[in-house]
Symmetry: C2
Subunit: 452 residues, 2 copies
């Protein structure tokens, strides 16, 4: 009998859950401190909500759910429709699993527009599903941890998101670099060489600069239809050196005749100035190569790199000016970020940065020496729990060795030994499982000791 999980999905054991919850809780705490409110949306969405929102590739990666009942009922078997899987899919499947949290959030905003006040700051931590080929670090079911502000185009929002990124990674003791760009600057590059319609090709190629190097990027740009002359024009931009200030200074000159370029630089400058006043722990840098494949960004683009471990982006986000437009509610600007919990997990694991005290297990276990003893132990356990001390009674009166092994593997701090004599005396032999130390105490003394 097969008892495996679906390929690309995972079971989470208690120790893994503790570590995952530690990450989620840090993110939640920071979101809440900044006034973000939690929402949840259903895992199942109408396919009409999801299709066409993630490009052609995304449509393929959507998990589609079979209609219930006799889904073949109204189909004409002689027609071509039943032999072309794409056409058939439309006939037999109306629902799909959420692919990210951004599109469902846009739908949520429109669906609940009378219930929410704009600007609306929401966070959402839920799994998403993608029918991707599973590989190391890439799963078919994984959590996203999103925060978005919708209904305000103030750049304070961009600043706040960077602040939250900084706070999350400070709390997690992970050293990161926050990289910022602005889609308007990328648009200005396309404009500069009069290839506005190629902006996606250009950004997709530029995005690979760090990974494949300048020469390969040029090859790709040529393949995508740029000319040698185009490349000569943008070379100095892509090869900009120096700190954020000097880069921005240089860009001001490049784009002196570009309205969109000037606007992008202005936005960047304002964001950087405010961030400077906040004295973040993380370095925040302008990175013109930062493009993020996602088409819908229109302003700021942000990504986070772990400084200590080579790893893809730990957090990403940006501004999108018209996300709810696809659901009939135009002119609502939003900006958001998403933490990648799995990559953060891997970083913390590799650097051994998970705190020691997140094990979240039972504080005290009563060993079980038989029916008479266990009756007293369940009462004492209940008393401890009233003081908020987690306690359990080993359920079976098996060999003590087996019970101690259980306590050990569960990382339980104390084992209370209550045998016949202790029962008579009303005392408890308490064993500290870390030091091995044992002493006799009564239940009130134990309560006092463990309450702190």
């Amino acid at each position: 009998m097969n008892c495996n999980v679906v390929k690309g999905t995972r079971d989470f054991l208690p120790q893994q859950m503790n570590k995952r919850n530690y990450i989620f809780n840090v993110i939640k705490e920071v979101y809440k401190l900044h006034g973000f409110s939690q929402i949840e949306t259903p895992a199942l969405e109408n396919l009409s909500t999801l299709m066409g929102k993630y490009g052609e590739e995304g449509d393929k990666l959507l998990y589609k759910v079979l209609n219930s009942g006799n889904f073949l009922d109204k189909l004409d078997f002689e027609s071509e429709q039943t032999k072309d899987y794409k056409k058939l899919t439309n006939k037999i499947s109306e629902k799909g699993l959420r692919y990210d949290l951004t599109v469902p959030f846009a739908r949520f905003v429109v669906n609940n527009r009378n219930e929410i006040t704009l600007p609306f700051k929401r966070y959402q931590i839920q799994p998403v599903w993608r029918a991707d080929r599973p590989q190391k670090g890439r799963y078919r079911e994984f959590y996203q941890c999103d925060a978005d502000i919708i209904g305000s185009d103030s750049l304070l929002n961009e600043v706040e998101l960077c602040e939250m990124i900084d706070e999350v990674f400070t709390r997690l003791s992970l050293k990161v670099e926050i990289k910022l760009n602005n889609r308007k600057i990328l648009a200005a590059i396309a404009e500069l060489i009069q290839q506005e319609d190629k902006i996606i090709d250009i950004t997709v190629a530029i995005d690979k600069l760090e990974k494949i190097g300048y020469d390969k990027v040029c090859e790709e740009l040529i393949q995508r239809g740029l000319t040698k002359d185009n490349l000569n024009k943008i070379e100095p931009i892509l090869k900009l050196e120096g700190d954020t200030k000097s880069k921005i200074h240089a860009l001001k000159i490049f784009f002196q005749n570009s309205t969109i370029g000037q606007k992008g630089i202005e936005e960047l400058e304002e964001v950087f100035q405010t961030i400077e006043s906040l004295k973040l722990n993380s370095k925040v840098e302008f990175d013109i190569t930062l493009a993020r494949g996602l088409n819908y960004y229109t302003g700021a683009i942000v990504e986070v790199k772990c400084v200590e471990v080579p790893m893809g982006s730990l957090t990403g986000g940006g501004r999108y000016d018209n996300l709810t437009g696809i659901f009939g509610m135009p002119n609502i600007s939003g900006v958001g970020i998403s933490f990648g919990a799995d990559r953060i997990y891997d970083c913390l694991e590799e650097l051994k940065r998970f705190p020691q005290d997140i094990s979240n297990t039972t504080t005290l276990m009563f060993a079980n020496f038989g029916k008479q003893e266990e009756k007293q132990c369940v009462v004492w356990a209940k008393e401890l729990r009233k003081e908020n001390i987690s306690a359990e009674v080993y359920p079976d009166s098996v060999k003590l060795q087996k019970q101690m092994k259980y306590a050990n593997e569960k990382l339980i701090s104390y084992v209370a030994l209550v045998g016949e004599r202790e029962l008579e005396e009303g005392e408890i032999e308490l064993k500290n499982m870390i030091t091995g130390e044992q002493k006799k105490l009564n239940i009130d003394q134990i309560k006092e000791m463990l309450k702190s």
Copy 2:
């Protein structure tokens, strides 16, 4: 453009999330206090894991996911297989959405048998999906909150589960009655009338006693193949009156010749005796009509009824002796409960029992009077957050009225007004949004005031 949720599923707004989280947190706290460890399993399971585990009706209600890519690739269109939706389903769908948390847990135990120590106490709070006809209080996507102990047949586990039920509802301020039965007693009834193979029919009918009354139950039993003579024999059992003790006393006589009956009574008595010593807040009662449709129970059966609001069972559970057997790991006994968060929510809502202080929103909002002022406000907001005080700066310098409306609707406690003059003086005009009171303070005074 359609922006609705899938029928039978729900968006959760911030206020609903606060209430839901309140319930989930109470349940989690109690689970943890009793030494239960959290696990999670994937939403997607292989259909081979799920099919056949919930009866024929359950198989129909499973959400099945289309294979990705060209799922028609290897199909023969001339064969009958493609015209029968059930046969076709097997060909084009291999995965499904989890229907409950119990079967995935059984699979989890077998799959991770080398990583866990028995007895294993786990809790799991995750959504499940059922392709049911949506109706009031019945959803296609809803959370289950399960706790199970697997690998121990001690009745202490049954007691602990009742204790946890009592603690959860005490913390939630909901008055409930815990009803207990034992499947062995139901088996003894079937044995008594020599209709052992009809035990499911009998229990399904008996389960309706409270809802449809004795006469209708008899009609149904006749329909299901019992004789008049059978009914005469079991009538005194079904019409047992009195408290738990006297009912058990009567049953001992009825079942004096039934091994399984005696065993069931013995188990019940032991559970009741230990529970009595724990002085629970909730009444715990023996209810012989309690059957719970679920086939896999073999010992204790438990259900919880709200005393103050007419509502279906708020919690249910029981013992199953061979759940992991279906995945090739026999002889592992388990017992568990599941809280129905939606019904608990409805009860608390109807009785207005949600606490006032769960709103979980921003403590202090800085109103925005312009670029100069906001620069100072973001620094002050950061200082407050360092003291764990949630704070936000309204992102746009729009009319104050609009900003106050936002603060009001978000139930923010304090609004800080920092205009040109305050900025010069380094002071903050602080408005208490509940009393309307206003006073001038500096940031340190505000920190001091809000830290408590």
